[in-house]
Symmetry: C2
Subunit: 305 residues, 2 copies
């Protein structure tokens, strides 16, 4: 097995054209900017509006990235759909392209489903993709999916598929859950990524391998810098600086705020567009966000062409 | 405009083969049995595991029904997906085939979205399908989708697209909400279907046009009979008889219980299969369900080949 992807990853925001079609060119440019800032590519995450984009559109975007020379070994695309046949198709495509891993939501339409049903979902996908390169990262994001990944489910999946079940993104926002996952499974080589850089230092100190965070879209270099320096004396200060930026974005609807920031610092207003059901920030919110960020001397250097 | 579909509809359960592929032949047979019992076809509903089936698979199933001679004028397929491009594609296909209407979930991945975002979703679909035959029934099922259809959203959509926005399925299970929708919009020709026959008589007495109910999969003739006789003196008794069957099924996980009943009375055990994340009833649950139904002298006449 090649070495696993680690560090800071961004659920890359997806650019849309005026007609809502995904824009492969701007997408590849954004991914290259993130890579240049030492941030990996968790494309097709929640912040990417992945579930607002069809499987065919996602496959085309992924092809576009590879064609544009973006290294698939730095990618962990989201491939978990509500229909198992979609998950299999998208996952197989990502593996075939050489993606380092896939970040996999549980099927998210039905609520209150059993661990047995979720186990069957992941097991069936692994059996069908049937590729030793497949590295699955479970995606625990109960505030949105409403379908949690329990400790018991992780244990069962790890036991059944130790070569394919590689880790988890924990976007519960609940450190006690992240800590429990770390304590139970990190030593077995199960890679734990908190879903926010708020928990980056704490996770690294407890056996985590990085983070996958919305705000890595806008603050990549600083987050990657903490990842590099987490064992140095300045780590706690660096964490505090990250938290200030994060909490500023968190005052606004996160995904529109990220896209607005990219639009502003890239000078490309089209970046602010979202697919329904999400909507862009109001003018007032935009002004508030930009004022708040200016007060922090926030910048996104190198984004402008 | 041709006359709208009315009465009792079933979110038809979807049969799967041993390899989880949808079985068009058994599906068409089931639909014909429902039609013979005066129940229309809300295929691809929540009880159909629609969101566990890819858009391509759903289109193929729909084609299969039409090829098998099932009348599209008796169909109201579910076509609301989390990706707008999927919703457009599936809706356009249903309209092209001549479906009487489509039952449309809001995009259901993101929670806490705005009415503005949901309006844009429906508006964009209507504009893109761009077919005067399109009759949309909004699908309000907050216990599962977690994304409600508000009165304000209905009002706005009806005002903008009076020819395409035809009605609603209210699966909130909250009669006060169904009553509010009826009071506000039924007189304008907005067709309100409660999502359970529990509310069939109450809805018909308040301007509703029928119901779309899980248990219409297993108890179609009796529910259709109340629809025919709701203005007769026996209506309240008929409602009570329906409630007894409904509450028996509701003691068990609904979708597996429906499929188990179809499996039992059709003599085709394969019907009990569900796609992950749903799982079949345990042996104990199955025995409990069959005992309970026997006590009610429940039967599904004509289902066995």
């Amino acid at each position: 097995m090649t070495e696993r992807i680690k560090g800071v990853l961004s659920p890359v925001v997806t650019p849309f054209n005026a007609d809502y079609s995904p824009d492969t060119v701007r997408f590849a440019r954004q991914c290259k900017w993130l890579l240049a800032n030492d941030v990996g590519l968790a494309v097709f995450g929640t912040n990417s509006e992945a579930n607002s984009i069809s499987v065919d559109e996602r496959m085309k975007l992924l092809d576009g990235l590879v064609e544009a020379g973006v290294d698939p070994k730095r990618m962990m695309p989201g491939t978990g759909c509500s229909a198992i046949t979609d998950s299999v198709r998208l996952t197989a495509h990502a593996v075939k392209l050489g993606a380092a891993g896939v970040l996999m939501l549980p099927p998210f339409y039905y609520k209150g489903v059993s661990d047995e049903g979720l186990f069957r979902n992941y097991a069936e996908i692994i059996e069908r993709v049937a590729d030793p390169r497949l590295q699955i990262y479970l995606y625990h994001i109960p505030p949105v999916s409403q379908v949690p990944i329990t400790l018991k489910l992780i244990e069962r999946l790890l036991k059944a598929y130790p070569k394919n079940v590689a880790g988890i993104k924990d976007s519960s926002g609940d450190w006690s859950n992240t800590k429990a996952v770390l304590d139970n499974f990190a030593k077995e080589g199960f890679d734990v990524y908190p879903g926010s850089e708020t928990f980056l230092l704490a996770a690294l100190r407890n056996g985590g391998v990085g983070c996958i965070s919305a705000t890595a879209n806008v603050n990549p270099a600083a987050i990657a810098n903490l990842y590099k320096k987490w064992q140095t004396p300045e780590a706690d200060d660096l964490q505090k600086q990250l938290d200030a930026v994060r909490s500023t974005f968190a005052k606004y609807p996160m995904i529109p705020a990220l896209k607005q920031a990219v639009a502003h610092w890239s000078g490309d207003a089209g970046w602010a567009k979202l697919r329904p059901p999400l909507v862009e920030l109001t003018q007032e919110q935009t002004q508030g966000l930009l004022n708040d960020l200016e007060a922090l001397r926030f910048d996104m250097p190198g984004l402008k062409n």
